[in-house]
Symmetry: C2
Subunit: 213 residues, 2 copies
DNA sequence: AGCCTGACTAATATATAAACTGTTCAATCG
DNA sequence: CGATTGAACAGTTTATATATTAGTCAGGCT
């Protein structure tokens, strides 16, 4: 959790802001309200955070920390093969995104607003999750399930392939189960790709069936 | 082209409307302006189209027709294997979307506005493109490159896996070449998945390396 | 008759004024 | 003297009034 770096007062401010962000959204909570909740003046908030947007950024960093911690449990699941963990990772990520979108809509709205002003936060989020996924892939390399030479590159490819199921744009279109089934279809296919590569090696350099241009 | 069904006058209206949609966008072109361009009264437009939104829908249908015709050329490319055609299909689709996003922004804006009111149009678009992709897959089945038992299902999976490169949400983040390279990475992997399946059969039923649950 | 017009209306959009909010900082407090 | 305040300012949001537009229809034109 990134909050451990924070002053006690800063944590209090963040907690008060988080409550209001979740209930009323970012734009509808005012600095004065946050200050009132903390029994201080609005001006004093600026001794602890440079701006309102920075409070929101810290709020999102906490959300991200929780989500990454959650995804990291996939790594330690006993009796699961690396390939199964790849599937677990994306299904859990989808489930977490889907649930947050539906029962914490204000948090989602806040993330979107923040990312418009601070795109770097989205990249950091993706990278943090990518690190977990990369560990799964490395584990597969170690036990011989996979034969991936460039783990970060393949991590990015997997994130790209699963993008549709991690962005809330389509959470309206279909239900939980339909989307999860489609995600499973994508994962089936990329895992078969891994299987092929681990049997034949040399991935990426020559595209097996359909060489480029 | 869907315009062949149309009355001569309707075509004239659609042409005038299209010019203004492309130049000024949907909301900034008025029915009176379209009528003036056609030397008729605004009321008369409603003899040919039920509403302004229906003119926009027809405009988007024409766009879609052009795009699908364009993608269909991939099917007839000589000397390309089915796997290469899968790659050609998605790279061309990406290029068309990327270019239209950048040099016909008003058309993109119009598509977005329309799809909010007429989501069915987006589904029809995806299905129309899916039919072309499905023909490529069937061709691969016929010549032995692929061994796909449920072509429509795999078509959907491929569209899902490539979604990130067909939705304009990320066209801001990276340049042309970076995105195309990432798309190629995804295609490499799914084609390797096809290679594995064509060598082993039984795709979908048992997920090769990482069986479900 | 069949096609077309253009004034009319309800609804939407734009422009303008009023209120509010993020942020600063000179003054106050402990 | 460091920590805190709250009035002041600039920028933005909201509320209100004005104007425009999508869509209708009773009549006119050919």
């Amino acid at each position: 959790m990134p909050t451990t770096n924070l002053d006690e007062t800063a944590r209090q401010i963040l907690a008060a802001a988080s409550r209001r962000f979740l209930h009323y959204g970012y734009k509808k909570t005012t600095m004065s309200e946050i200050a009132d909740d903390c029994n201080m003046s609005s001006g004093n908030l600026y001794r602890y955070f440079p701006s309102k947007l920075d409070i929101a950024e810290m709020f999102v960093r906490v959300l991200r920390g929780e989500q990454v911690d959650n995804l990291r449990t996939v790594l330690d699941a006993p009796g699961r093969s690396p390939a199964q963990k790849v599937r677990d990772f994306f299904l859990l990520k989808f489930k977490l995104a889907y649930e947050r979108f539906h029962d914490k809509p204000k948090a989602f709205e806040l993330s979107s607003e923040l990312i418009l002003e601070r795109p770097k936060v989205a990249l950091e989020w993706e990278n943090a999750e990518g690190r977990v996924l990369g560990e799964i892939l490395s584990e597969g390399n170690a036990d011989g399930s996979f034969a991936i030479d460039d783990v970060p590159a393949i991590t990015k490819i997997l994130q790209n392939a699963a993008y549709r199921f991690t962005s809330p744009a389509l959470f309206h279109e279909s239900g939980d189960e339909v989307l999860a089934a489609e995600l499973n279809g994508v994962i089936d296919l990329v895992l078969d790709g891994f299987a092929w590569r681990s049997a034949h090696g040399e991935q990426g350099k020559t595209a097996s069936l359909g060489s480029r241009s």
